[in-house]
């Protein structure tokens, strides 16, 4: 087999690719999840809620695949991360799956029976299906930044020694609020692009509230991270170009912030600041220039994901109880061959996905109105 990139480079590329998939998930599906959080509050009547649901009606299924593919790509490229994170956060992830069940069925089944009790029940199902996953993802990142209690034995079997309740610590809960408020804002700004009248007005209010909560909590979490959270740093490891497993390195864990512990590049510090500015500008622009506001809000989402990624770099999942068991982008990865095959596959298919997703949005563009959904009857959600 001919290797175009050496192993070390591919390891780095795959850190970028997983990041791209997570960003795709946050920007595309995140707005649908955030819209689920807003559904019972921004939509007061059945017609209004139908308007909201139909703005994402043709797209939520495709958007949700970002989540599935991020999971699959993690399995293929970072099998140890896939194994450790999902079995370690077992209860949290199972709860997320339960919540996600409500979404596909909620979207499709809600419209199939006109009874208001039926529809109201599904609306709360969609609310849970949006809010719980967002909260869990935020809490999970909050825990990753603090380190998670797990270690490997000699057979490389992972042992998780924490508990579900242990995940719900103050910093992680704050990160959960960051996640929910960020994507509620993103969903609200998307709604302003695709609706009018009462829904648009309420979406604007909701966007301002969620945006303010996001800016305050994100800045607060950032300050806390810099001042109060112990960081991790690799002190010795085999050459990045070789194949090795987590226990082969040594890691220091102790006082000193993430920003000092994991110095990717000094300029990465501006990323969270850009995120906050983008959110402020998005809220300001949302009234007149909805498309620009959506791009700015997406920028804020991208910056938040990047902030977490840069802060952790090169770690993916640090271990608080046995630091050398920590998972990094160097030692949790698949073989050189698998990384390269999956590199080409991603390079070919990701642009195609973006192209046909863009086409789908273009075909379905335009405002959804209450009159439209009333006239369409069962032809729309």
């Amino acid at each position: 087999m001919i290797y175009v990139f050496d192993y070390a480079t591919l390891k780095l590329i795959w850190w970028v690719f997983v990041g791209v998939l997570l960003i795709g998930f946050a920007v595309m599906d995140g707005k649908d999840l955030g819209l689920g959080t807003l559904l019972p509050f921004v939509g007061r009547s059945d017609d209004e809620r139908r308007v909201m649901l139909n703005t994402i009606g043709p797209h939520w299924e495709g958007n949700q695949v970002w989540f599935i593919t991020a999971g699959g790509a993690t399995f293929a490229a970072w099998p140890l991360v896939y194994a450790t994170a999902f079995s370690g956060f077992y209860v949290a992830l199972i709860l997320t799956l339960f919540a996600l069940f409500f979404r596909p069925v909620g979207f499709d089944y809600r419209s199939k029976v006109p009874d208001p009790r039926w529809r109201n029940a599904w609306d709360w199902g969609i609310f849970i299906g949006g809010t719980v996953p967002l909260l869990v993802f935020g809490v999970a990142f909050g825990n990753l930044l603090q380190g998670v209690p797990f270690h490997f034995d000699q057979d490389l079997r992972v042992h998780y020694t924490g508990s579900f309740v242990g995940l719900l610590n103050p910093f992680a809960l704050l990160a959960g609020v960051v996640s929910v408020s960020l994507l509620a804002m993103h969903g609200a700004i998307y709604l302003q692009l695709r609706t009018e009248g009462a829904v648009l007005r309420r979406a604007a209010t909701a966007g301002r509230i969620a945006g303010s909560v996001f800016i305050v909590t994100f800045a607060g979490a950032g300050a806390w991270l810099v001042m109060g959270i112990e960081g991790y740093a690799i002190t010795a490891m085999p050459p990045a170009n070789s194949a090795f497993m987590p226990l082969a390195k040594t890691v220091a864990h102790g006082p000193g912030s993430w920003l000092r512990g994991a110095p990717l590049h000094p300029w990465t510090v501006i990323v969270p600041l850009v995120g906050i500015v983008a959110a402020l500008l998005a809220l300001a622009a949302s009234r007149r220039r909805a498309m620009l506001a959506f791009v700015l809000s997406a920028t804020a989402v991208v910056c938040v994901v990047l902030t977490a990624g840069f802060a952790l770099f090169p770690f993916v999942m640090p271990s608080s109880t046995d630091p050398r068991s920590s998972l990094t982008l160097y030692d949790s990865v698949s073989s050189h061959r698998t990384l390269q095959i999956m590199f080409w596959a991603t390079l070919i298919f990701l642009p195609l996905i973006i192209a046909y997703t863009g086409w789908a949005y273009r075909v379905m563009r335009g405002k959804i109105t209450e009159r439209q959904v009333r006239e369409a009857g069962p032809a729309l959600y």
């Binding site: 009606g57 043709p58 939520w60 299924e61 495709g62 949700q64 695949v65 989540f67 599935i68 593919t69 999971g71 699959g72 790509a73 993690t74 399995f75 293929a76 490229a77 099998p79 140890l80 896939y82 194994a83 994170a85 999902f86 079995s87 077992y90 992830l93 199972i94 799956l97 339960f98 996600l100 069940f101 596909p104 069925v105 499709d108 089944y109 199939k112 490389l156 079997r157 992972v158 042992h159 998780y160 194949a243 090795f244 497993m245 698949s334 073989s335 061959r337 698998t338 095959i341 999956m342 596959a345 996905i353 046909y356 997703t357 789908a360 075909v363 379905m364 069962p378 032809a379 729309l380």
Partner: protein, 524 residues
Amino acid sequence: MPDLDVVDLSRLQFATTALYHFLFVPLTLGLSWILVIMESVYVMTGKEIYRDMTRFWGKLFGINFVMGVATGITMEFQFGTNWAYYSHYVGDIFGAPLALEGLMAFFLESTFVGMFFFSWDRLTKVQHLLVTFLVALGSNLSALWILIANAWMQNPVGAEFNHETMRMELTSFYDLLFNPVAGPKFVHTVAAGYVAASVFVLGISSWYLLRGRDPSFAIRSFAVASGFGLASALSVIVLGDESGYSTGEVQKVKLAAIEAEWETEKPPASFTVFGWPDQKAEKTHFAIKVPWLMGLIATRSFDTPVAGIKDLKHEHETRIRNGMLAYAALQRVRGGDRSAEALAEFNRRKSDLGYGLLLKKYTANVVDATPDQIRSAVADTIPNVAPLFWSFRIMVALSLWFLFLFVAAFVILARRRLAENRWLLRVALWSIPLPWIAMSLGWIVAEYGRQPWSISEVLPTHLSVSTVTVGQVWFSLAGFVAFYTALLVVELYLMFKYARLGPSSLGTGRYHFEAAAVPLKGAV
């Protein structure tokens, strides 16, 4: 060493969630092509009724599709939550087809399924047909990648154990893709989905015909289903036979268990049609045998023997003993002895490492296993014969029934004798649940028959699980069963509601329940 309760519960959870998932997948696989056929006729003839057919069966497709999506999310993440050691041990190979499924297939299917429902007024006829086609293509490609992954569990080709990383690693992507088990398995599985969808459309159309409702709509749907179903039922059987042949090549144990073949017979082996397998006595009571048939199916020859269970057990004992030496050699290498001699010793024996790992169930050290423990491990290598024997026979009988049903439907329809043959309509209606029984039994044969391995001859199931607690798995298992059952009840309620309503649910004003309200809308 993992807790056995966790192993059993995790297996039960995987089997339950996978079988639930596969209640919905087949209809997606088959109905999507039926929609393509109906819409193609609409594009070619311009007859509105074919558009209505596409939209109505598309509605039922949608009710089913979202359940497939909801239960499918679990499958993508369950390897990580419950099978963490498996994910580490074979993720280098197994993860790739799952990721490719997302990138190449599931994105395609899911992006265009939304367009299928909502873009009727925004696209030209041909464009919309292309959208429908891409949904069908995406869902079937999705099945292809998943079955490539599954075929690798049955026959792990193109991979090798790496002692540095303590896992299996890919050596040939080509071998993974063109695994001899994968091709027949894919066609057999999707064709089974096509049969299920055809029986579904045939049965519901028959019900409309029995009631005398919307006959022109029903008879056209009946016609599409009978044609598509006939072709599919034939390929299920032919490819099932091909599957049998590839099983005979690489999964001798599964084949012997399905056939309850205790002794290696003089070739060509006979096929046991019926009997009562008794695992303890290693005998099949009251066996009725057809001479030669087994040898022909499994080896395509008159002179190749089909191995019996007793001989396979002897072979396994040798491999387990060799596996103990492989494990000892691995411990030596991992302990730091990287001498050429130590590595050569390990490499010579590593193909039996998996057999050595079977002993981990009895002794953590493997190398100190007692003769009793070895005997237990050998007994473990043979799956439970009776459930496989029966599941397989019921599956085959059902597939022959589907062939009969579609031949009858096709012939009677072609001769325009449906009205005189109302029995056929009734039989078609009551056949609707049968494909689901056949497919579930098929999966039980394939996966239960793979035991005690999660990856054949490489990784035992009992080592594959996560280090989670029994309480956690009870929590998730109870939750999955409760949620899935509740959602299944809702799904069936809607499916019955819309199937009963028929094309009247489209609101075109052209069908049975709308006859009185014709002037309302869309009548012109």
